[in-house]
Amino acid sequence: MKILVCISNVPDTTTRIKLSGDQNAIDLSSVQWIINPWDELALTRALELKEASGGSISSVSIIHVGNAGSDATLRKALAIGADDAIRVDAAPTDAYAVAHEIAEAIKDKNYDMILCGIESSDYNGSAMGGMLAEFLNMESVSSVSKLEIEGDELKLNREIAGGFEVVSATAPVVVIVQKGIALEPRIPSMRGIMMARKKPLEVVAATGAEALTEFVHYTPPQPKAACKMIDADNPAELVNLLHNEAKII
């Protein structure tokens, strides 16, 4: 079995997001890039499955649509343990274009299982995995929080309201994963970091798939106000503040 994990390159989750002057783009100048957290967990689970498979899973590959600025993120995924990487050389403009590019790049590679994250932590589109399955004419299962392989069958837990459902599937399949799929992301070992340099990172030309969506405008959330603690024995102070400072009563 060959596994492919789709990797999105996203700003570190602690980044303070700034918008460009005209508010229709994000200022990326001082952003630290990381592997999308869901994708990092997906990769971790893929590696756990490979290690436990006794050789029946032959490889865990990664793919990314993006420009050369993403290579450091891909090297980190290789250091964590992926065997090889493909980067489709195009700026990712929307989920449709990304899914199209990935489908074109891998159509002859016969991956048995493709893992995607449930959403990218930057644009939160939640769209790529489903679209990719359609392009490849593969089954897909979404919201997967547990993934086991039993013989030829995949056992998947899907989160649903109030609990989860257990689904079985057979390869080839696209599995869209969320929190819980692996306990915590792996920290690359020194040996892994050393090996990453020697692993293949293939850059393939894009087919020029077009985006179907366009961002018009962003609005940043209101900054969080500081929390004021008021002594429990001092309700008069609370009333005073609500009246005179917050002006809501």
């Binding site: 090297r75 250091a79 070992s189 020194m190 892994g192 970091i193 050393m194 990453a196």
Partner: protein, 380 residues
């Protein structure tokens, strides 16, 4: 000249940072109870931090000293007890063995030091020989095919949790420091007993003991280098080790600074964030500048070592400066925290206690000034 980290160095720094985040959960409790970080050392071993500079042919990561200082700095921002275990193991014991050991000695020890199965300890200091390491009282009597060790070592980091000791001892007292040898000793050899765990001011989660040797037999083939090379060996190992301690001190300072910076953006006094009071903002500016200076000295020393140039002077300057500013910066970090800085929950009081040790071990600040001034004065 190039101040950019390589992609690999950045990855190592990030990996160390991610590992260090896990130390934070129990660092205060381990400090309070002086508990050895067994599980963390195991994970540090699995991640390869214990063999990161060892040649890949012995199972190590083959990384340079600069990468090593980045890892030590990140870990020291959170927990210097773990960092000192790593530092003694890597830059004194593994480095010494790899650089000065015979091929047989390397084959025998390095693969298991690289995986962390063996942890190393370095036994130089004695109750009456600290700064003056030439006056070694521990004896290694030459008995033909073996040595017999008798004496006491003091302040030994990882004395209880290590398995490989490098012991510095006198064989030919009449030759003074030219008679000293460095021996690889199995910690579990008959005749070795440990004193009580020292009740320390800081780095309380690392174990520090005195070690007594009573007629401990050590095979001749365990000697490092020629007969009488031991003192030179110890000085060479400490030269390398100092870069690691300088990185540790930089990390302690940077960890305290990061906490103070964050706190100053949250705490209000007189209707403003304390960071908006210039007295506090200026403290932050000075702290940041000192840390940046210390880091540059550390990087320069590591770069000299990595490019096979003499680094003794640079290493001593880095150690002296970084240790002194670690003390200053942590003291200011406590000040910025006000009363909250004086309680354990906010970490900065612990970082201040940890900083103090960096001015003492692997050559006190006074000894570094001797090394630096001698190096200046020997040239006309």
């Amino acid at each position: 000249m190039n101040f950019d980290y390589t992609e690999e160095q950045l990855m190592i720094k990030q990996a160390a940072r991610d590992f260090a985040r896990k130390l934070e959960a129990d660092v205060i409790e381990r400090d309070r109870t002086a508990t050895y970080p067994t599980a963390h050392v195991k994970e540090m071993a699995e991640l390869g931090f214990l063999g990161m500079m060892i040649d890949p042919k012995y199972g190590g990561g083959g990384m340079d000293s600069l990468s090593y200082t980045l890892a030590i700095e990140e870990i020291s921002k959170i927990d210097s007890s773990v960092a000192v275990i790593m530092s003694v193991h890597n830059s004194l014991v593994s480095y010494g063995l790899e650089k000065y050991g015979t091929e047989e000695q390397r084959q025998k020890y390095l693969p298991r030091m690289a995986t962390g199965e063996h942890i190393g300890a370095f036994l130089l200091s004695e109750p009456e020989a600290g700064s003056d390491a030439t006056s070694q009282k521990t004896l290694a009597e030459d008995k033909g095919d073996h040595y017999v060790l008798n004496g006491t070592k003091n302040w030994i980091t990882s004395a209880d949790h290590s398995s490989v000791y490098i012991v510095i001892a006198q064989t030919h007292p009449e030759k003074k420091h030219h008679g000293i040898n460095a021996l690889i000793v199995d910690r579990h050899s008959p005749g070795i007993t440990l004193g009580a765990h020292e009740d320390k001011m800081g780095m309380r989660s690392s174990d520090t003991h005195s070690v007594m040797f009573t007629d401990v037999k050590v095979p001749k083939e365990n000697r490092l280098g020629e007969d009488g090379f031991g003192f030179a060996f110890a000085m060479k190992a400490l030269e390398a080790g100092r870069i690691g301690i300088a990185a540790q001190a930089t990390g302690i300072a940077a960890g305290a600074y990061e906490r103070a910076l964050q706190y100053s953006r949250e705490r209000k006094a007189f209707g403003r964030l304390i960071s908006e009071h210039q007295a506090i903002a200026f403290k932050l500016a000075e702290m940041y500048l000192k840390i940046e200076n210390a880091r540059n000295l550390v990087h320069k020393a590591a770069w000299l070592k990595d490019t096979n140039k003499p680094y003794s002077l640079a290493g001593s300057m880095a150690k002296l400066y970084a240790a002194d500013i670690a003390m200053e910066v942590t003291t200011e970090a406590v000040q910025i925290h006000g009363g909250y800085g004086y309680v354990k929950e906010y970490h900065v009081e612990r970082l201040m206690r940890e900083a103090k040790l960096t001015q003492i071990y692997e050559g006190t600040s006074e000894i570094q000034k001797i090394v630096i001034s001698r190096s200046l004065l020997k040239h006309k």
